[in-house]
């Protein structure tokens, strides 16, 4: 992102000599003072840091958590190196020198961006400035422009939250929720899913009769389908949250919001799982879709047990819809940060993969599409973008008839 930066502000100081009359005028710009600034982080009891697994390009990232205000920030290895020097004893000039010796070069922009991150996260001791920054958000912002734009922003930010989400989840976990994460439960679910898969295959021969039953009661079918999917979605996020509790981490929020400002979605904020292992994160990511898999399997097993007719068709329809929902959730290449994307981000150790990939395109243009300079991680970001585009294209092609019908409506 390009942004305008004014010349450094300047102060002129008149330094009087101790002997009568003489003086010297010194002009100090803010950058010079900045190099003498000694930023100080919070006491160690107020933050924790977790090293992430090595990413594709061999670098390691770190997640830093502010325990005072429960906020998180992702640091790359260079930023983490700098973080260790922000103890209030080293000036930025000294830090820059140490960085230069360690990495061979130093750009002040790097530390300025880091300090912005850390201020934003409240990890630096500068309460007054931090308050100022936080209060800035409450002032009317002229940049927000027209009423339409303001309303769009409000719309995007709309969300409903369960109060005391962590406490609620802890109670549910302690009162039986923990059983969901017993190995026996996992194997039972897997067995049910395999049985359902085997039993679902012969249903394909009778597809036309099921379709006939469902066409006779379209509103009932639609109503039951929506109710099933919504209930499954609520259980889905609850199980994500319980999985987070199973690993002893905090559930920050549980609620409902508009994904990308469009898709109404239930969600569980499990950011705290970044402080656990990669395995724990993947368990949390997988736990949600397992709900649809298990419920879908149960519906298909019930359809198998039911006699031929509307009830059987409904159960089968629900079962297949839930399975499809699980598959969609686990598919990572759709530009949305769903469970599959989270798993991909964890496997590649790139927690901000989507954001980085989207930011890469304008940067590439600025560099004159010079692909030779791309690092390995950036190639991965490009591959992610390409697969997302191909997937969306294929999805549109496959659903072109449905989209046409939608437009005609």
């Amino acid at each position: 992102m390009k942004y305008f930066m004014a010349d450094p502000a300047k102060l002129e100081l008149l330094n009087r000599s101790t002997d009568a009359g003489g003086f010297e005028v010194i002009r100090i710009d803010s950058l010079r003072a900045y190099s003498a600034y000694k930023p100080s982080r919070l006491p160690q009891s107020d933050w924790e840091v977790t090293a992430q697994p090595k990413s594709a390009d061999g670098t390691r990232q770190f997640v830093l958590r502010n325990l005072r205000q429960d906020s998180y920030v992702l640091l790359n290895s260079r930023e983490y190196y700098l973080w260790n020097y922000l103890d209030g004893r080293h000036s930025l000039e000294e830090i820059g020198r140490a960085f230069h010796l360690a990495f061979g070069a130093f750009d002040y922009l790097l530390i300025r961006q880091l300090l912005t991150k850390l201020y934003g996260c409240g990890l630096l001791e500068s309460k007054r400035l931090l308050d100022f920054q936080l209060n800035r958000g409450t002032l009317p912002d002229r940049r927000q422009g027209s009423g339409l734009r303001r309303n769009l922003l409000r719309w995007r930010a709309m969300s409903l939250r369960v109060p005391n989400a962590d406490r609620v989840c802890s109670l549910i976990y302690e009162r039986g929720g923990f059983l969901l994460f017993h190995p026996f439960t996992f194997w039972l679910c897997l067995a049910a899913a395999l049985c359902a898969l085997v039993l679902a295959l012969p249903f394909g021969q009778n597809a036309s009769s099921f379709a006939y039953f469902l066409k006779t009661r379209p509103w009932l079918f639609s109503g039951v389908m929506v109710a099933s999917l919504v209930s499954a979605s609520i259980l889905h996020v609850l199980v994500h949250a319980l999985a987070c509790k199973a690993h002893g981490r905090r559930v920050r929020e549980l609620g409902f919001f508009l994904l990308q400002g469009i898709v109404p979605t239930f969600y569980a904020d499990v950011t705290d799982i970044f402080m656990s292992s990669r395995r724990a994160r993947i368990t949390v990511d997988m736990a949600g879709p397992m709900v649809e898999v298990v419920l879908g399997s149960v519906a298909i097993l019930a359809a198998q047990a039911a006699s031929a007719g509307l009830a059987q068709a409904l159960l089968l329809g629900i079962g297949l819809a839930l399975w499809e929902s699980a598959l969609l959730n686990l598919y990572p290449f759709n530009f949305l940060e769903m469970d599959g994307y989270n798993i991909l981000a964890d496997l590649t150790a790139m927690p901000m993969l989507r954001q980085q990939a989207l930011a890469l395109i304008p940067r590439l243009y600025e560099q004159g599409l010079n692909f030779k300079r791309l690092a390995r991680a950036e190639w991965l970001q490009l591959a992610y973008l390409a697969l997302c585009l191909i997937s969306v294209f294929i999805y549109v092609i496959l659903h072109i008839d449905g989209l046409r019908a939608l437009i005609r409506l």
Binding site: A9, V73, Y267
Partner: protein
């Protein structure tokens, strides 16, 4: 050197005065040569006159701590300073010092009051112009305050514009 009354044409608060008024004012001014580095007045000194810079450069500063002042502004030929001393008996709000060898014209408060009583029309014209000087200085002070705040923000690394996206994971 040109006549004082001629020189006054260049002085901002004498812009509305005609030649005879300028001559009358010139009679009341006291010329003073000051070498570089000399202190004209210090902050908190008694305040009882205005100065016009005829030549040289004057630096105005305010004490911050120990031996250090912050430079507020500089005045060049045609500028005036210390104008508060014409109206107000409060001590000087800043220090004035010559940065180069300078010649100043001094207008005492008593002389100014004499203009008020003898030539009220001239006094009114001077006052009107002085108000515009005050306004300009107030604006400059505001700009300087803003610059000082910007300086503080930049010096503590607080002013970097782009905001970062916080790390978060919403499982859906």
């Amino acid at each position: 050197m040109e006549l004082v009354s001629e020189f006054l044409k260049k002085v901002s608060f004498c812009q509305d005065l005609n030649e005879s008024a300028r001559s009358k004012l010139a009679e009341l001014l006291i010329s003073k040569k000051i070498s570089a580095g000399a202190i004209i007045f210090r902050e908190f000194d008694e305040s009882d006159c205005l100065y016009i810079v005829r030549s040289g450069r004057i630096i105005i500063s305010k004490h911050v701590q120990h031996q250090v002042d912050i430079v507020l502004t500089r005045f060049h030929p045609g500028d005036c300073f210390g104008e508060m001393g014409l109206f107000d008996t409060s001590p000087r709000s800043a220090s004035a010092q010559t940065e180069t060898d300078s010649v100043l014209l001094r207008l005492d408060r008593k002389a100014f009051q004499q203009i008020f009583s003898d030539e009220p029309e001239i006094a009114a014209r001077i006052c009107y112009r002085l108000v515009t000087v005050f306004i300009e200085r107030l604006r400059a002070t505001n700009d300087q305050a803003r610059e000082a705040i910007r300086w503080g923000l930049e010096a503590t690394g607080f002013s970097v514009a782009p905001e970062h996206a916080p790390l978060g994971r919403r499982s859906t």
